[in-house]
């Protein structure tokens, strides 16, 4: 590839790429994202490659390995274009049929299609409820491109927005566009991106930086990772546009080292940009110069905070500093620096290409555009979903997510990660909107959405987040370090059955102190998981403290395992699986657990065949149900 020296040369290249592609040709888009890889998608892809060759279909079929399609629950997934047929849970053994039936004869392999809960078979991917209710403006491109091939990105109008900005818009006009679109930060806080860009642009100094925050610290989310793995150029293009508007020549990408595939794809994308002259000096002959360096983060949640992240880029410990002077004025090396989240940057090219009116037509009054969520936990359709802002939580969880697994009852949904809160059932009418979620004590956060059912203990969840935060607090300021530690201590006691009267009031008091006095947002928001669960699930806390009972049967110290003699058929499965020999019994006779030996490992509960469900957990004053016979 030779360097592009003008905007028209980019247009020419795009035309050339498109002229070499036939939209009617069969295209297999096979997911090779992290989720599908865990299901052995790489083996499926290898068999497809060799099968296509063997059957001499090379000229008739394009095989594209892509990033995450979103429906990770049913991985490995594949879509066959131009018809848009969706195949799911593909095994290497299915490849033969895909080739001989679908590719050679145009017949659909029924067993690989999606079947909805009512038993209806759905052939086209976009008719599946999981996809039908989404608006995949940002994430949808993932399945059309091979992230390792810049030509695929160019074929879907990639770098068109950059070319428009560089050739026909002034930096001020670009800035105005983003401000008018009211693009708010997708990394958690929802701060208007245009305003931050403007502050950096107006800050004194010649050298300024733009930065991508790809630290994705929320322990229950993977959307930023999947954008970078699946469509790195969309983020890079956004970054270049921002740099042009702000007046920067250098950008950084701060990415978790735990995301090796994303780092690999980013590095490759940057290399290809450089080959094409989309990085370096005089980009597209417009006089705009830009360089990028990738900085891998070595694992510290607090380093996702803006000032901490910047000191980490300088090779130091990533601890926050007081922000009397904001990082938009003094960031990396004391220079004005603009930091935005992966998804924020990825929205920028869309706004330029499709216009402010398009962007603001989606969403609510204060929150425009779409938001990607990692919809996970006890929900049927686990995956990444992108919805218009303003969609009701209920619709996301039930229409897209397909409701709760195993017919369980919904209990709460958690958004905002360790800084967010739990939202109970009677609030599911809430729209996803930065301000609406803040109002109820949670927050939008970066996009973690964890669905919880009746078997989830809310005290345990609060303890979980505080354990995470206690580990991750940098310890620089006392209110956060000690506040979190003390709240965690109380929660541990409560979960161990040693809660005292007055504990809940004390929790509230420490929470208020930690919120008010911590230096950075880690400490300031750390009480949210505790306060929101205390507010909406107070009775559950009381049961733990007063009755030493964990109603959800989660807190280990408060439960015991039993075998219901009325249900046990003596199949012996639990006995064979108990690692400590705590179960005894003869074949076909009810088995018994020796509570002194039982380590509460949960294995017997897992392996007892569902038709018997004889293993039961009891807590507090609960007793085995009296048998009817």
């Amino acid at each position: 590839m030779s360097k592009l020296t003008s905007v028209s040369a980019l247009d020419e290249l795009r035309k050339d790429i498109l002229s070499r592609r036939d939209p009617k040709k069969t295209k297999l888009s096979v997911c090779s994202g992290t989720g599908c890889r865990a299901y052995d998608s790489e083996k499926v892809i290898d068999s497809l490659k060799s099968g296509i060759k063997q059957h001499g279909l090379d000229d008739k079929v394009d095989l594209v390995t892509t990033g995450c399609h979103g429906f990770c629950e049913l991985g490995p997934v594949m879509v066959i274009y131009p018809d848009g047929i969706g195949y799911f849970k593909i095994k290497p053994d299915d490849v033969d049929d895909i080739i001989t039936e679908t590719l050679s004869q145009g017949k659909v392999v029924d067993r690989l299609l999606y079947v909805d809960p009512e038993g209806n078979v759905i052939t086209k991917e976009h008719d599946i409820p999981f996809y039908k209710y989404q608006n995949r403006a940002v994430f949808g491109s993932n399945q059309s491109i091979d992230p390792k091939n810049i030509e695929d990105y160019l074929a879907i109008d990639g770098y068109q927005a950059l070319a428009t900005c560089l050739s026909s818009l002034s930096p001020e006009e670009v800035l105005e566009t983003v401000k008018k679109a009211n693009l708010r930060g997708r990394g958690g806080g929802g701060f208007p991106a245009g305003q931050k860009w403007e502050a950096t642009r107006n800050a004194p100094g010649d050298v300024k930086y733009v930065i991508v925050n790809a630290d994705e610290g929320d322990p229950g989310a993977y959307m930023d990772r999947s954008i970078l793995e699946g469509n790195p150029h969309s983020v890079l293009e956004g970054l270049l546009i921002g740099a042009y508007a702000i007046g920067c020549q250098k950008g950084f990408i701060y990415i978790r080292q735990e995301y090796p595939l994303a780092v690999e794809h980013l590095d490759r994308a940057i290399e290809q940009m450089r080959e094409l002259g989309l990085l370096g000096e005089n980009i597209l002959g417009t006089g705009f110069n830009f360089e990028i360096s990738v900085h891998r983060g070595a694992g510290a949640f607090v380093s996702g905070e803006s000032s901490a992240l910047m000191s980490s880029i300088e090779g130091k410990v990533g601890e926050p500093r007081p922000k009397y002077i904001r990082t938009s004025i003094s960031g990396v090396h004391g220079r004005p620096s603009d930091l935005n989240n992966v998804e924020t940057w990825a929205n920028v090219p869309l706004i330029i290409n499709k216009g402010v009116d398009w962007f603001t037509s989606i969403g609510t009054e204060g929150s425009k555009g779409t938001k990607i969520f990692s919809l996970v936990g006890k929900v049927n359709n686990t995956g990444l979903v992108e919805v218009p802002m303003g969609m009701k939580l209920h619709d996301i969880i039930f229409k897209i997510g397909g409701g709760l697994r195993d017919g369980k009852k919904f209990k709460a949904v958690q958004t905002g990660g360790p800084s967010g809160g739990v939202i109970p059932e009677d609030m599911l009418d809430l729209p996803v909107d930065f301000d609406a979620l803040n109002k109820v004590g949670s927050m939008m956060g970066s996009g973690g959405m964890i669905v919880m059912d009746e078997d989830t203990c809310m005290v345990d969840v609060a303890k979980y987040f505080l354990e995470f935060l206690a580990d991750e607090s940098c310890g620089k300021c006392v209110p956060c370090r000690e506040g979190i530690t003390q709240m965690l201590h109380i929660l541990k006691m409560i979960c161990a059955g040693e809660g005292q009267p007055g504990d809940l009031e004390l929790l509230e008091e420490i929470a208020a102190m930690t919120k008010a006095c911590s230096l950075c947002a880690l400490g300031q928001s750390a009480p949210n998981p505790v306060l929101s669960s205390l507010k909406y699930f107070h009775a559950e806390y009381e049961a733990h403290v007063n009755d030493k009972c964990c109603p959800a049967h989660v807190c280990k110290e408060l439960i015991t395992y039993h075998i219901d003699p009325a249900k046990c058929k003596g199949c012996g499965k639990c006995l064979r699986n108990c690692a400590v020999g705590a179960i005894s019994g003869t074949k076909k006779e009810p088995h018994v657990i020796d509570l002194d030996k039982c380590t509460k490992c949960d294995t017997c509960f897992m392996v007892c065949p569902p038709k018997f469900s004889a293993v039961t957990k009891l807590s507090g004053n609960e007793t085995l149900p009296v048998s009817e016979s």
């Binding site: 890889r37 990770c72 964890i450 969840v461 699986n577």
Partner: protein, 152 residues
């Protein structure tokens, strides 16, 4: 793998011995040898002209760095939120029992290291255990024992 300072030098040179690239250099060294020996750190400090305390500061702050050797087999249990609500605590107990290790510990014969990690991007399989890159969804005690047996 035994470490050689020549390899360390190559990594440092790749970054032009730039002190600001300290974290990137240490990540590469850690990747190469799976841990950071005192000798390596002293050498790196020397080459970059940094005080040793800055290297200790950085290596103890960030979780990825290990100042002790790591086992030949990497065992991780996801304790991300989705896995947590699906029973990661119990899985971690079983794994710890099966491998006879606590989280963040390496066995005396340097065979296994057990780590907890945050979301691996495959929450649909949760709770997950990964042994040397192989993913397993909520294995029982017996299944874990089999894995322990299989590892050389």
């Amino acid at each position: 793998m035994s470490y050689s300072l020549a390899k360390v030098d190559r990594i440092i040179d790749h970054y032009g011995a730039d002190a600001e690239a300290l974290i990137q250099i240490l990540l590469d060294i850690q990747h190469e040898f799976r841990w950071l020996s005192r000798e390596t750190l002293l050498h790196t400090a020397d080459r970059l002209g940094l005080p040793m305390n800055q290297l200790y500061n950085v290596t103890t702050f960030y979780k990825h760095f290990s100042l002790v050797p790591q086992g030949r087999h990497a065992v991780s249990v996801c304790v991300g939120t989705a896995c947590h609500v699906r029973g990661a605590t119990r899985l971690l107990d079983r794994v710890a029992q099966g491998f006879k290790l606590s989280p963040d510990e390496t066995s005396a014969d340097e065979k296994f290291s057990l780590k907890t990690v945050s979301c691996l991007g495959c929450c649909a399989l949760g709770p997950v255990m990964v042994v040397d890159g192989k993913y397993m969804s909520n294995p029982t005690s017996n299944e874990i024992a089999e894995i322990v047996e299989e590892c050389e």
